[in-house]
Amino acid sequence: MTDPELPMLTLADLGVLRDVRDEDGTVVVEITPTYSGCPAMGVMRADLVHALHRAGFADVDVRTVLSPAWSTDWISEAGRRKLAAGGIAPPGRAPVRTSGPVPLSLGATRRTATCPQCGSPDTEEVSEFSATACKAMRRCRACLEPFEHVKEI
């Protein structure tokens, strides 16, 4: 089962698949959305049900879990390698989550990423947003190629 928008990643690689278990003959699958507005959840749910039906499991229950909220730290090491091989820079460490007020960040973004094309660390952000909710747009100063970067949350 792969992510509809990052097809090089399985749902397990992405950290979206939280649990699979048998409950009295029903296959229970737990998935969590990456972002609140992730439009791929419906496709993932339908893909999972269809795949399990085709694999011979008639009773399938795909459940959403909202807590704890998804973090890019849940993307597996294999997933990070696949992203880079697919031309998308994997995320760095997610910001530490605290329970108090969130401090304002007014400086230039401190995010960094290595160019997935040539490996240069000399890259700059050109847009804080990109074609899907989970990515930003960067450009490599060495090879001049643009690339997407999974932003840390």
Binding site: M1, Y35, G42, A46, D47, H50, L66, W70, S99, M137
Partner: protein, 302 residues
């Protein structure tokens, strides 16, 4: 394995009749989530509160997406649409939470049975049933005013959501925890634009200051608790909006001063008109755009 196209699996999941979009109940955002209301929480109040927070997100999303094809540059169009998408996700979860506790207003009388609660609430309530603040329904104005409003709205919502992570309603707490990193990103993005424009050319400064002056009076609508919020705050479910006033004022003052903009005097706070369903004609026009298709074809499938 993967389907030939993603639509195949969606189609399969809905009986193979080519129906999988609006009106078919696919991807209910709280599917499988335990929606039991903890003891001591009034479900009607909880639903009313989720409508307030959900309507803020839905209406601001609609305003942001009005920039699609009209933003000054493609990157910013994508940025505003992405902020809108995050807010739409928050709105869906919150409207679904309201529906899960039976708060549906008059929407169910108009929506067909196949339409899920979140869609019934979004598409089949009239303006007087919306509980969003006046801040989010005001027209966009120019790009400067738009980023000022996004700064104010995301600062306010982030302050609320950061506290709501401790709500006694576990569903609301989870929605808030999920929203915090999203709103942090929106707020910082908007703040950088306000800095760039305010401390930019004389023209960008003038127009951004005009945006501040246009948005500022709307702060009056944000910080007076309704009876629902007062009761739910006492029950440990909601946040008294007055409790976030100082944080919001501090953040906005910091950004505007760094942007060399003049901070207007704090407006005289009033009981919220928006939370009482007393909206301006701008919301009616916005909803006509948002709801027209669903109301024209209430049983449509695609």
């Amino acid at each position: 394995m993967h389907e030939e196209t993603v639509y195949e699996a969606l189609d399969h999941a809905h009986g193979g009749e080519g129906q999988w979009a609006f009106g078919t109940g696919f991807d209910e955002p709280l599917a499988g989530v335990d929606t039991t209301v903890p003891a001591g929480i009034d479900p009607a109040d909880l639903g009313a509160y989720c409508l307030m927070l959900g309507d803020d997100a839905l209406v601001l999303c609609q305003r942001l997406t009005q920039w699609v094809t009209a933003a000054p540059e493609l990157e910013e169009e994508v940025a505003l649409a992405n902020c809108g998408l995050d807010l739409l996700g928050q709105a869906r979860l919150l409207l679904a939470r309201a529906g899960s506790v039976g708060v549906l207003g008059r929407s169910r009388a108009l929506a067909t049975d196949s339409i899920p609660d979140e869609d019934a609430l979004a598409y089949f309530r009239d303006a007087d049933e919306f509980r969003n603040s006046l801040l989010v329904e005001a027209p966009n104005g120019d790009f400067g005013q738009t980023v000022v409003r996004l700064l104010v709205a995301s600062t306010w919502r982030l302050a609320l959501f950061a506290r709501l992570r401790g709500s006694r309603d576990p569903v609301l707490a989870a929605i808030a925890a999920k929203g915090v990193p999203e709103l942090t990103y929106h707020r910082d993005h908007a703040a950088r634009w306000v800095l760039r424009l305010g401390d930019g050319t004389p023209e960008s400064h003038r127009r951004t200051q005009a945006g501040v002056d246009a948005v500022w009076p709307l702060l009056a609508d944000l910080f007076t608790a309704t009876d629902v919020e007062t009761r739910l705050t006492a029950a440990g479910v909601a946040v008294d909006p007055a409790d976030v006033r100082d944080e919001v004022r501090d953040v906005l003052t910091t950004v505007l001063e760094r942007a060399t903009l003049t901070v207007p005097g704090w407006p005289e706070e009033q009981p919220s008109r928006g939370r009482a369903g007393r909206h301006g004609p701008e919301l009616t026009a916005l909803l006509a755009d948002l709801q027209g298709l669903a109301r024209e074809h209430p049983a449509a499938t695609w």
